[in-house]
């Protein structure tokens, strides 16, 4: 279309529908961020608050059979947490498509969201507490989520993590450099949000 200016919309009966959609989108973004903050700060109650009962998580190329959100905690935190220093998920570009409804003024109860993520994780190379070799992993991909309305919230019912890139490097850190990130593995700053 060519650039044709039209007048700004005036307040109308559309307001309620627009407000509901904006609120739904904000609730979905909040759920996605709760997952990331929960995983990165190891605040598992926050992580759990992002999922609907019975939710499934899958990662093609790593987890061949979808697992429950609770089982996914074990896969993420088990042996990794013995050597883990920190994790950080950057989320971007979320697009949301709401499920269809029978009437224009009816609120949708389902949605699909597609979000880019870039994760940066650091860990000791060995389980020796005195070891100073640190592995930094950069991995990126998509979080593809089917969400359901759950009261005032939107919760993940099915998540597939799609891998796009994954690289890591190892370097030697000084004790001071290790001390700098020592408090990042578990951080209650995000608890309860």
């Amino acid at each position: 279309m060519r650039t044709r200016i039209k007048s700004a919309p005036t307040p109308s009966g559309e307001d309620e529908r627009r407000l509901r959609e904006l609120a739904d989108r904000a609730a979905i973004r909040r759920t996605l961020r709760r997952y990331a903050q929960g995983v990165d700060q190891r605040q598992w109650d926050l992580y759990r608050s992002a999922f609907a009962p019975g939710a499934a998580v899958a990662i093609p190329g790593w987890i061949a059979t979808p697992v429950t959100a609770e089982h996914f905690i074990e896969l993420l935190s088990g042996e990794f947490d013995e050597i883990r220093f920190s994790g950080q998920h950057h989320l971007a570009n979320t697009l949301v498509e709401f499920g269809s409804t029978n009437a224009r003024d009816e609120a949708p109860d389902t949605a699909r969201s597609v979000t880019e993520f870039l994760a940066v994780n650091t860990e000791r190379v060995s389980d020796q507490a005195t070891a100073h070799r640190v592995r930094t992993q950069y991995s990126g991909g998509l979080q593809v989520d089917d969400l359901v309305r759950h009261g005032d919230a939107w919760l993940i019912r099915h998540r597939v993590l799609v891998r796009k890139n994954d690289e890591q490097h190892i370097d030697v850190r000084t004790p001071e450099q290790i001390a700098l990130i020592a408090g990042a593995a578990r951080n209650p700053a995000s608890a309860g949000l």
Binding site: L22, R25, D166
Partner: protein, 184 residues
């Protein structure tokens, strides 16, 4: 600053269009590209030896780049928007990471960089559209990197799926299933 409902809706629509641009090229979902530019838009890629492009030319430019692409990400952040009636201006940071094939099996060209998108917008009958974009590259790091066959198989398989419509229960999860932790 307090926003009205109409302003919140405008800002959400502009951010959606920014994300549609990135998702169009990163997921090869070119129908999303139609949500981004006006037909008479002008896109300037500063530092590249090419003249300003129109929207259709820009899509062709990206599609040509994607011919050798294995995967791509353009993470758009820090967007600031200023709306003035039916016109708007925005700036966004973008961090991009793409993998492309090389002539050597298992070796990929990785491009990692950052840019600034400076956009001018107009409210059209189809919604907010970019009328002018200026892309300023900020940093760029290119290297050849080795990828294990199983991971490459997984990435390639994932790039062939329409993630906006696929039934998540039907996704084939078997490719490269013996790989190590995915940093999820």
């Amino acid at each position: 600053m307090t926003f009205t409902l109409a302003e919140l809706a405008d800002r959400a629509e502009i951010e959606d269009a920014l994300h549609a641009y990135a998702q169009a090229q990163d997921q090869e979902a070119w129908h999303l590209f139609e949500r981004v530019f006006s037909d008479d838009a002008v896109i300037e890629l500063l530092g590249l030896p090419i003249p300003p492009l129109g929207a259709t030319e820009m899509r062709g430019f990206l599609q040509e780049f994607n011919r050798t692409r294995v995967s791509g990400q353009h993470l758009i952040t820090n967007t600031l928007i200023e709306i003035d009636g039916d016109r708007a201006r925005s700036v966004s940071e973008v961090f991009h990471l793409t993998l492309q094939t090389t002539e050597r099996a298992g070796v990929l060209k990785r491009s990692r960089g950052g840019s600034l998108y400076a956009d001018e917008w107009a409210r059209t009958e189809a919604g907010w559209r970019i009328t002018r974009r200026v892309v300023t590259q900020k940093h760029l790091d290119e290297a050849e990197v080795e990828y294990p066959t199983a991971l490459l198989t997984t990435i390639t398989a994932g790039a062939c799926i329409d993630w906006f419509t696929v039934d998540l229960h039907q996704v084939d999860l078997s490719a490269g299933s013996q790989q190590e932790g995915a940093g999820a």
